[in-house]
Every structure is written in C-alpha cells, then in structure tokens.
Subunit: 337 residues, 4 copies
Amino acid sequence: MIVVMKSGASQDQIRYMTAQVEGLGLKAHVIIGAERTVIAAVGIKRDGTKESLAIGDGVADVVPISAPYKVASLEVKEERTVVTAGSLQVGGPRVGMIAGPCSVESEQQILETARAVKTAGGSALRGGAFKPRTSPYSFQGMKEEGLELLAAARSATGLAIVTEVVASEDVPLVSHYADVLQIGARNMQNYRLLEAVGNCERAVLLKRGPSATIDELLLAAEYILDRGNTNVMLCERGIRTFESHTRFTLPLATVPYLHQKTHLPVVIDPSHGTGHAFLVPDMAAAAIAAGADGLIVEVHPNPEKAFSDGYQSLNFDAFASMMEQCRNIAHATGREL
Amino acid sequence: MIVVMKSGASQDQIRYMTAQVEGLGLKAHVIIGAERTVIAAVGIKRDGTKESLAIGDGVADVVPISAPYKVASLEVKEERTVVTAGSLQVGGPRVGMIAGPCSVESEQQILETARAVKTAGGSALRGGAFKPRTSPYSFQGMKEEGLELLAAARSATGLAIVTEVVASEDVPLVSHYADVLQIGARNMQNYRLLEAVGNCERAVLLKRGPSATIDELLLAAEYILDRGNTNVMLCERGIRTFESHTRFTLPLATVPYLHQKTHLPVVIDPSHGTGHAFLVPDMAAAAIAAGADGLIVEVHPNPEKAFSDGYQSLNFDAFASMMEQCRNIAHATGREL
Amino acid sequence: MIVVMKSGASQDQIRYMTAQVEGLGLKAHVIIGAERTVIAAVGIKRDGTKESLAIGDGVADVVPISAPYKVASLEVKEERTVVTAGSLQVGGPRVGMIAGPCSVESEQQILETARAVKTAGGSALRGGAFKPRTSPYSFQGMKEEGLELLAAARSATGLAIVTEVVASEDVPLVSHYADVLQIGARNMQNYRLLEAVGNCERAVLLKRGPSATIDELLLAAEYILDRGNTNVMLCERGIRTFESHTRFTLPLATVPYLHQKTHLPVVIDPSHGTGHAFLVPDMAAAAIAAGADGLIVEVHPNPEKAFSDGYQSLNFDAFASMMEQCRNIAHATGREL
Amino acid sequence: MIVVMKSGASQDQIRYMTAQVEGLGLKAHVIIGAERTVIAAVGIKRDGTKESLAIGDGVADVVPISAPYKVASLEVKEERTVVTAGSLQVGGPRVGMIAGPCSVESEQQILETARAVKTAGGSALRGGAFKPRTSPYSFQGMKEEGLELLAAARSATGLAIVTEVVASEDVPLVSHYADVLQIGARNMQNYRLLEAVGNCERAVLLKRGPSATIDELLLAAEYILDRGNTNVMLCERGIRTFESHTRFTLPLATVPYLHQKTHLPVVIDPSHGTGHAFLVPDMAAAAIAAGADGLIVEVHPNPEKAFSDGYQSLNFDAFASMMEQCRNIAHATGREL
C-alpha cells in the first residue's frame, strides 16, 4: 500500500503516518518526491488498514497495490479451469452453448425447446423455475414443478440443466435436479447464497451484477471457491450505463480482461446484455471472437407468447441460424461449437 | 400501452398488431400520424404484454403508460406515511437522524457512540451485526452478540436500534432485538428477504441498490407493502457512475422526485453516498435542504481504528458539529432536528 | 407524440391539454384508459412542442414517437452508404482498416509506421497533427508540419490519410492534405465544426462522444449530411461508465443497432475503446464479428516512447498478428480484409 | 509515480524497469513487498511518462501521485478566488444568482424576465443568443440581435449579462456585449475556444461536460488560467448516468469536493441538472446548503411557450418563491442572497 501525503504535508504529519504504518505491523519506506512525499507500507495488509490510514492528517490518498482476490487469481493458479457438468464443458476447445427459455412454462414448451437446442448443436438447456422478478405482480416461476420438467427434458435429450437458485434454503432442492446452479445478477452479492453453493458439489454459473466491478465479481467467486467448490464459471450479462437503446451495455472487453486475471472460464449472455432479439446473434458471434468460453442465450418456441423476456428471446429458426454464424466464428478462432 | 409502428409499416402489419392487442383482451385505438401509425392498447395489462407486442413485425417500440408500482404510489394513497419506531420518527415535522458505527465492534465502542449520538441530538442508533462484505476475508460482524450489545445501548440511551438483516432466516432473530430492519443495497432485490420483512412487524429501511432505477426501488418496496408491512422508509445511498472521486454518486434529486411519486418517507445516507468523511456534513445539510425526511450517518469513536468504513465515518466532534449545521438547515425549512 | 395524463387528471385538465395540442396545429385523439387518459398528438411537430406540452397541468409525461434524425435514417435511404477515400473503402465487402500512431512525431516514425501498416494489409494511415489534449501542458501535435509528413507517407505507400481537424478555421488546411477528416469525440457536438466539414468534399469519420446517445450521434451526423456532405462514417470509440479496468466501455452492440437505424457505415476504435494494448486484438476481432464496416487502431514503432497513447498502441508485430486474427474473422463473416 | 510490478515479476524485469525510470530522468526507489515489488519514480514527470512505463514487461500498473492541474489547485493558491462581473459577485459572502431564459426570444421576453429576476433579487441575467442545439433542425438563437437585446436588458435593470460563446471566432463579438462568457458543457474540451476566452478579459463560467471527470474540468479551467484569465467560475450542471427520471444526475458532492481542491468558485445549475421545473427549487436550496457559491437557473415568462428548455424553466412566481426558499438556506449558512 502506498500512502500519498498532501503536497505541503508537515514533517510531523509524515512522522505520525510513518508511526501509524508501523503500528499496523507494516514496514514503512518514506520517499521524498519533487512535489510530494509518499510512504510505502510493506507487509500483510489487514482488513481496514487502507481506511484507517486514509483519514490520517496530511494524507491525500492511499493506493492499494495487490488485487484483493486470491484463489480466483491467475497469479495463484496458472492452469485454466475447465468446468464440466454433464453434456456441458466450458473452458476447453469447444465453446459451451447454453440455451433455453427464460422461464419453464409447460412440459411442451420446455421439451420442444430442449429438442430444438439439441438439434441445433447446443450443449446445455437453461430454464428458470425460481424466477426473481422486479415486480411482485409478475409470474414467479413454476418452482419444483419446473425443476421436474427440466429433468424430464434432460432425460429426453441428454442436455445438462442450468437453472437459477435464489435462496440458500433452496440449494438442496435445486441441486437435486440441476447440473449447474445459476446465481443471478441480483444475487451476486447475496453472500449466504454464495456460501451455500460453495458448500455443494454442483457447477456454478455466477452472473455479474449490473453495477459490480470486475474485482467485486471475482470476490463473489472467491466466496464460492473459498468453501471448496472450484467449478465456477463467470458470466458477463451487461452493466448499467446511460445507454438506453439496449437493456444493458455488454462490455465484451470483460472476456480478454478476465482471461488475464483469472483461471475461471468466461460465459457471455447476449440476451440480457442487449435486451433485443435482433442484436443477439451478432453479439453472440462477437463474444466468441473475443474469446468467450461459453454463451447463454434465451430461446423460446414462440417469443411473442413468452411469460417473461420475450423481447430478447430467439425463436428456433433464429437460434439455428445464430448457431451457424457462431460456428463459423468459433472455427476462425480454432475452436469447435 | 402504446404500440409504435415503424414508419412504412404495412397495412397488414398494422392489422396484425391490432388483432394481437385485442387478443390480449385490450381495446385497440389505431392513430394514423404524419409519419407513423401508433396503436393505443387500453385495458388491464398482463405480465409480458409489453414484451410480446414489442417483437411483432413492423413494431418500432412499445411504450408503457402506467407506473408499475401500485401500493407505494402517491396516486393510491395521498397522505404521507410517517414511520415510527421507538425514539425514531421519519416523515413528520422532525428530521429523523440515525447515526452510529458501520459495525458493532465492542461493548465500549457501541455504548460510547450511542451516548455521543444521543447527546448531539440523534434519534436512533445504527450499527451492523450481520455485515455483508465484498471480500470473504473481511470482518463479517459480531452477529447475535452484536445484536445484544445494540439492545444494551438502547437500554442505556433510549435510542431506537437500526440494524441490517441479510437473510430471510435471520428475520426472527434480528426482529427480536431491532426496532428497524435495514435491507442493504446489495439485497434490494433479494425478494425472499423482502417478503420475510414484509411479513413481520418491524419498520423497514430499504436501501436503493447502486444500479437500481427509482421504479425498481419502488417495486422492491412493493414486495414489502404487498405482504402487509407499511412501515417502510426508502433510502438513497448513492448510485454507481463514472465519478471516481466519490465512492458513489449521491443524487439528491431523488428526494423531491420520490416525494412526487410515493407517500413513503425518504432517508439519505451521505456516508455511503460520498465515501469520504470530509464530504458528509455538507451533503447531510444539502439533503435536508432538499427535503429529506431522515438521514443515516456513520459515526465512530475513532474512525482510524474502525473495522470497516473508517474512511467515511465521522468522529464525535465532527458529528456534533454536523448536527449543528443540519439543525440550522432544518429550521430554515420549517422543521426540527 | 403521446401526452400521458396523470391518473386522476380532471376533465378540465384533459380538455385544456386537448386545446393546447390543437393550438400547436396538431390533431388530438383522446384515449381513455383503464387507469389513465392519453392524448395522441398527430401532425408535424415543431421545435419545443414536447417541452411545452410536458409542463401542462395534469400531464404525467410526453412520449415522442418519431426519431429526430432524418437524412441519416434507414427509413429515408435504404441503400447502404459506401464511403470511398483513396485507398480506403468502408461499407463494402472489404473491412476498412485504418491504422497508425496517435500523433505524428517525426518523419521516420510516420514513414516506418505507414510501411508497416501497408505491409500488414491496412487500408489507410491515421496520425494526429492537431491534437486536442486534456492538459494544456501536454504535446499538442506537429500541426502543418505533421500534415506534410502524412502526405509524404501517402506518397510513399499509397495509403489514404485520416487525420483530425479540431476547429472550423482549420478545415481548408487539413482538407488540403487529408483524405478523411476525423471529428474527435470531444468535438462531436462542436456544431460550427460539423457545418464546416459538411461544406467540404472530404470524407468524414465522426467519433461518438463518450456520453453521447446514439440519437445524439446521428443528429451530429445530420449536421454534416444536411450541408451536403454524405461521405460520413460513424465511429464508436467507447462510452464513459463506472468500469475502471478499461479506459472506456466499448459497446459493440452499437454496430448491429446502427445497422438497423442508418445507412451510414460503422467503424470501431478498439484502442480508445479499451485503453490497453493487450485488449485491442480480441476486441478488433469481436468488432468484425459484430459486423463492423471498419476499424481504426493505434500502431506505433515503439509504444514505450510514444508522445501520447502509448498504453493502447500496438507495435508492428502485434499489429501484424492482429491483422491475421481479424482476417480470419472477416472471412468467417464472408468479407475480405 | 509508482510502478507496480506483477506478482512474480523477475529480477530482470525489475532491473529493466528501474533502468527505464532512470532513463526518463527520474530517481528510482525499489521497494520489495510481501507479494509484489514496486518502484517509486521521483522527479518531474514529462508527458507520456506514465504510458511509456505502463507497457513495460512485468508491469502491472503505474499509479500517478500528483494532481495534473497546477494553477487551479488550492495547493498553489490558498486564497479563494472571488469573481466579479458588474452586478455579479461569486465566491464571496453573497450567493450569486444568475437567472433568465434558455434562449433570448424577443425584446419583450428578455426585458420582462430581466425585471422579474431583478425584482426577486437575482444578481445577473442569463440568456442564450448563440445556441448549440442537438438537432440541426432546432432553433439556433437570435445571434447578434440577441446580444443587443441582452445589453438593452442590462441597461434597463443593471444586471450583469451571462451568455454562451460557442466558437473562438465569436469571442470578440460576444465579449463586446457580455459581462460573463459561458462555455457550455458540449464545449468544455474545445481547447481553441478555451484559449480564446483565456486571452480575453471577461469573466468565464465554465460548465462541466456531462461525462467529464473533475480532473478534466480542472484541466479545462487550466487552459483558461494558463492564458492569464483568472476570473473563472466552475459550473456543475449534471453528469450522464443510468438515471432516466432526471435529464442528468446532479452530484452536489462536487461542491465540497471542489472546495477542497481549487480556489475557484463553484456554481450549480439545477435546471439542466434535473431537467424538470418541479425539481429545481429543492435542488437549488440543497446546492446552497452544500456550499455552492452561485446558482444559474432557467426562468421564462411562459415556459409552455419557450423555444427551448421549457420543461426545466421556472415561471416568475415559481422563481420568486424559489428565491425565498434559497434565501432562508443562505442565511442558515451565514451568507446573503
């Protein structure tokens, strides 16, 4: 950590801060610059150290040096993590394609969709049974009945099941049916839930919150990894910005950036990331070109009739055509799809 | 809802969309404009209606007309809600001042702070016992022991207790000790938790998530109100923007805006809203000038030694001085503090 | 335009607003909904109409229906514009690749770079002679001497020259040397400058401002088109958001979105859009996969010694390798590079 | 500057970077930490130094230590600047109140408004003669005729005139009529214009661009100060964020923050900052409570008929009432209005 003194800080203030640094068990190096003095604080930082130094008299700023996450860091584990869950593999030589409806709505809907996803070459089926909804008056999902229908779709097609879990008390139930537990964007910092999935054996798809920084995403993953579950995929699904022509802003630079920081694989959600079906195929292709390890895409037999997210869902034809487009790009990057 | 057709939409497309609107049980009014045709869809909207219409052929946009929240709306209840919880009243002729440390750290720390808050004229004591923390390696709070210390501080000073609850399963325990349950910004859309506090009898302080829209905040409140708990305060604590010289951006226009939309009282948190102790007093004063019904401010006997949020905590002297500044502004707005 | 009345608006208020609409020369359709009344205002909107209606008593909102830009709209001209300027073509079957240093620094630097760009297959040379710089103490460019060096580089390689013009009074001078006039992000709404380039015959590369909406970008283009210059390329170079691990946030969804709204070709700048050389190649590839018509990339013989933007500049090897990567993606989308 | 090496950087990389730092004429201090090595680079930084170091092998980050602005800095001049221009004083014991229409529309409109502003206690008259407009089809202002009407209003009331200048070539003309030259948000980084107003003798009101950082605002001021004009007021008028219920987001923390960084006075524009007349008075009051040295507010005899910005303009009654509200707050802060 670097303690930056204000220009014009007094010798007393510098001495005081040096003592503060040493009082925290850190070694202090005082460096007198052309305009300012800085104190480098070396050693193992404890929680709150930065804050406590930053409010000292004469201090202009405290600049941390180390990344706050550990287990997720590429500096700790250089070998890339490949997540495997049934038919789905993410992080290897094949791009993982997770597709399906926002919500499970009926047996026919989910079975038809599973077959269409399978036929087009998808690797896993998504579908929400427990739905977190912005309004209490919106459809909240079919719950356990939905999970059973997902399991039936797996039996029929062999596709792994990806579905959201919204509360720690539901983890045993959802784990019973699902191959991958999805942590939704709203729950990225629901730490009780992160710990619960960290304690179970299912793979986890962790979605970035719409205002979370990359460090916050990696620290959320750290909650899961810290409990012993290392089968974690990170998912970029768009951030909130001033842009209003898309539902969220999808920053694909997250892909190469995360690949420099962490060994965990990166999945892109172009459906939530854009909010409009007509933008999804091009952004899916772009994600693969940027190096994404997987995609998660909303597909529905009849988007006009969907209970939720019809806006951003592809019908079967559009999905099959998007698969074609994405496969070409995957091949151009030396991978399969 | 207004379905806006693309310029150049065909008669067939317009006829098809008119039928779609009617198929949803809505009445359709077709209006032929200078450049475009729009179809006004009148009636009770069901979930997903907007989405399903928006993807019709030839449709440029679908514009909703009604606010999605109901019980929280000023259109439903014109009389302003006054929330009362022990010594705290928010929404009436006195500005409610909630103050205390980020985390309960020890008996001495919380008792000293409670007395300082009481002496300076504060109306309630805040303090975290269950702490949601970005990093799994950070101090996570004293849990039930912290709640007991808060209750002891109430006994000693008469101040109402405001403390955060982070999971639905903790609601009974936290309700046993606290006067006001705080829902933190990270949990604003933790619906299971919102329902749980909606089912209990404690007053609720609901913090806005850093990327939540005002409509999303009001819909989160709606989850609580819908369960029958109407003692809800809304809290603005800053949004995430590109500004980096403050921790969050504190948009005080939220105060007069919410006062036009909802009967629920509005509390401002200038500590998280700025992230720097030196900015807190002026922003607290500004919040009252903008009409805020209450404030929640971090105060610590020794911010340099705080386990969390030392950066943005006032010491006792700074808090007493801020109270003086705020009291002058409250009087200038015809209120007490 | 749709005037949305407040729920509970009185008959008098509705009558008054209807008269207001008619007073503006528009036809009023009153639609009585389940909860609210709306008035559809049909006809040619004049400037300020929306504002004047919005402040009427009992009005909740006024919703515009038509896009504010005309000449740039795909609704006005369906055929895509192909911009040609010397060796550069953007909007056709070949992806246009503009590359070069941020600033022209010396004869050797620009000639070497031009040759490297040419060898790797680039289609135009960029280089700043007039540099708008955040600080008055930074290098401000070589000015006319820089333009002469660019022209010399064109003579040596045949590459078209793309360079920025920062003031209307410089347009004749810069036009004398350059093939494409770049309007930088800071000047996107410098209307005097837009008019000046609209009056000249050079092709224009118009960069989106970091907080401009897409409508504002298209209206800025409209200033140029309106003066008769239709050789306009739109350039996305990133927007300002809370993300701090990249210099700006590069929203590639701009590409397919603009392709649905305008006939003008779309260029992506992954150098400014990310701010880090290690992110540029993957984002360049992603841009092409998303359908970008062209790219503009910073290349420097020795980024460590660059006078500006060294951070985000590729050296010659990295650029050649990026070209390879991009060419594969271009082929996968059925285009050349 | 602090060069932070990657964890695991080799001794060779550290030696190489040390040599690089010294090659730039800086003194290098190598500090070996628990996890990483950092190199403190001491001395006068040249332009591009940060960039050139940041791309060295094994470098994780380069952290600047000094603020980039000089003349505007409180560290350079501790005494606060008071700007005086005719009847207007900003930065002293009286809050400066600038009010008037967005655009000058007619003699009657501007004279009536000037009298109403004067009567209510305003200190200067604003009014646009050269209007930068998002759309080329919008009203662009009365130009020199508008300036003459402003001068006539000054003769009639004694109020100083604040009006925008949009191009360097207009500075002599606008200076001839105006007391204060306003640089609009769109032109905050139009450096040619900043230099032109820096070379003239009129006071300047410099508006923050909607995506400019505080450092960028201060560096824009630096362009003016550097030319010798020190009569500069900084104006916060809102930033662009995801909030859509206000036109911009008005971050009042800018006021106390700037007061810690610069000696220049700070003006708040609650009209653009909110975009809605009903939010203006409370935000004006809040701005004064936060310590703002001045306000700039849009007032129009008949906002429903305004050529521009009718939405956010107060009529005379609302303005007089706002003045009363603001005066109470000013007194509560020990100042006059």
